[in-house]
Amino acid sequence: MTDHGAVPEFDDAEHPAEPTPDADAPSPEPEAGDEDRDPEPDTGTDEATERASTGADAVVAALSTAGVETVFGVQGGAIMPVYDALYDADDVSHVTMAHEQGAAHAADAYGAVTGDPGVCMATSGPGATNLVTGIADADMDSEPVVALTGQVPSDLVGNDAFQETDTVGVTTPITKSNTFASSADEVGDDVSTAFALANDGRQGPTLVDLPKDVTTTETTVDPSEPVVPDTVSVQERADDDAVEGAADAVAGADRPVILAGGGVVKGGATDELRAFAREHEIPVATTMPGIGAFPEDHDLALEMAGMHGTGYANMATTMTDCLLAVGTRFDDRLTGGVDSFAPDATVVHVDIDPAEISKNVEADHPLVGDASTVLDQLAAAMDASPDTDEWVGQCADWKTEYPMDYAVPAADSDEGDGAPDASAFPDDEPVKPQFVVEAVDAATDDDTVVTTGVGQHQMWACQYWTYTEPRTWVSSHGLGAMGYGLPSAIGARVAADDDQSVVCFDGDGSFLMTCQELVVAARENLDVTVFVLNNEAIGMVKQWQDAFFDGRRMASEYPWVPEFDALAEAFGADGFRIESYDDVPDTVEAALATDGPAVVDVYIDPTEEVYPMVPSGGDNGQFALSEGHL
């Protein structure tokens, strides 16, 4: 990344000693002349330090005040003053992305891995609209993101000026809060407030729209520390009486289940949740964003519930008489039809957002507050443990009855668990994607961060990787945005510790939506390994067509896909290919060992499908184990 303190190799190319007046103007676009009506930047002098402080400097000062280390973005006309101010900021580095969607996803993943807001930056108009998918994604998944967008000068706003889009209007439904900065004196605080709001309570994306006159006007006002506006207040502790009632419900249950949502991970409540489950011997299912909240290799782990959740998680959440749901919004992909969701259960719902209580599933015991605080309260209020021996036994039986055993070609031997043995499989059989996921899991440490695109590969990555740590599963849950995988791996790489590995499981379709970000990984030498589970199709759509549209495969099979290993090489990454079981161990190892970006084109069995499956709106307890059950 561009860190002006460290002077990376690319510095010269990026900052020519004598900028030509036109160097940064948008390339010959019609009417481009109009947009630079504001005074020409003073390009003649070398004494940049004499520049007076502007709104843009206040924006950058607000970034520093908020402790931002990295910004992901793309340059452009209306945001240029802010970039210019970043030029002098030694403590804030910038990763130049290929596309603004990539910047937003990278910022989102940065937020997911660190828990602190990720920052993305784009110019007005197309820059801002390109951020939209990533902002919507962060909004659905409650990821802390601050988006800074350039805007045309205030006096042109409303005139359909060049590259003018009503960014505040466009992003209002997909942000926690957004602001049109109205003056240079206030813009620093606008940005600080955006940080505070992105972080406060239930996290989420915020946006500040920065008209060019505001960022170029002089100001001497320094931004203050991030604080939320007076109108905002978050309840940290749940009502004590409500906690008592909930504790009684849990203690008196015969078949309790904990449902851990993304809020457990975001609220830093993993330890409290694990301790509670172990202490009271309560089986734990997770939502998709809740993956990592509870170690999947633990006896009490039921893993993910919902549409493609495990059979045992869906049996347990269907048959439970007391559901302790923490930090979940009961998305329809989790509940299936609400009429059949945990229909015998008293629901205890812990959430920091009161609006989530009884939104989709009625809470008998609503506990509004921070997940870790409320779980501590609940633990303290438990006078007794429920008697769960029989129930835990029932859950164990379901684990045996509904194993996640995918069909594999006839093997010469199949010994024990641990790393799957590739040499046992016939060479001419296409590789099962689940096998590849397990092989990569076995070859990496527990703290490895996994990112994904959207589709079948994403589900296999949920199902066949054993997650044990929070903030190691980074995916597009609520929005389901294909293309999330690679840019989020970049954001995760920047965010993760140096000794943590970052791998991405992508689909060929998803990868093709944002694969240009490989250039960023190559340029910045980011150590990420992408496994493209290549079935030459947008497989999830194909699976649905086969199941629900009489196999009429309209627009879901690709008659031609590029060679992803060659494509990777062209971008400056290392390319690998897996065509058979034999290739798996060595190729996985070599790709992971690459210092820098690597892409493995994995030719998987194109007929493989994702099961279990609950059709949209269906009954979770009636999950299908194969197409015949649908």
């Binding site: 609006a355 009855e401 499908e609 197409e627």
Partner: protein, 208 residues
């Protein structure tokens, strides 16, 4: 992974062989007696929100209503005794869980200071301007008087009157004017305050 070699899917008992729960929930996620099947009927009520008077707040609030498919009958906004605040009054028709959602989602909008549902005895008023044919001016006048209204304009072809009152009264008045041939109607939608000592909005001390 296992030693299964069959083609697709996963092993395990088929759906019809599994244990089934006894209960059910309704469309609002509320556990119900499967025999009785109670659904909450929609209810009409007035929600009042005190908000910071800043650009875009109305757009935010109305956008929220359409995005979340809240059924609103009317929405009014205007200044209050404090220049920094505006009051938004919304008449909604929703089942109870929906009314709860309206309040909670509104409360999350950053410039919203306070939201509540008003009691049934709240003082809610609406203004309507009605333009009718002027064929029977005396009768129009009489009906206007009867509803405590005022004639704003009386011309050779049209008479335009103004009336205020609660929703029911306005509905009744409009019905009564139909006989004259209504040309156009403009209604403001309801605005309201809580009755007596009851506060319409509770402003936290740090915002006063």
């Amino acid at each position: 992974m296992s030693g299964r070699y069959d083609q697709q899917g996963l092993p395990g008992p088929a759906p019809e062989e599994r244990q089934r729960p006894r209960g059910r929930r309704n469309a609002q996620g509320i556990r119900i007696d499967p025999e009785a099947e109670a659904e909450h009927p929609p209810r009409r009520t007035v929600i009042s929100a005190l908000v910071e008077h800043e650009p875009g707040v109305l757009a935010r609030v109305s956008g929220l209503f359409s995005r979340r498919q809240f059924n609103i009958e009317s929405l009014t906004v205007a200044d209050t005794q404090n220049d920094d605040w505006a009051r938004i009054t919304v008449v909604v028709e929703e089942p109870d869980p929906g009314i709860d959602q309206v309040e909670k989602q509104l409360a999350k909008v950053v410039p919203v200071i306070h939201v509540r549902e008003l009691e049934a005895d709240a003082l809610a008023r609406e203004l309507v301007v009605v333009k009718v044919d002027a064929d029977r001016p005396e009768e129009v006048h009489a009906i206007t008087e009867m509803y405590g209204g005022k004639t704003l304009d009386a011309g050779p072809r049209t008479v335009t009157v103004e009336l205020t009152g609660d929703e029911q009264k306005i509905d009744d008045a409009i019905d009564a004017f139909r006989q004259f041939g209504i040309r156009e109607i403009a209604r403001t939608g309801q605005t309201a305050l809580a009755r007596g000592e009851t506060k319409t909005a509770v402003v936290p001390d740090h915002l006063k």
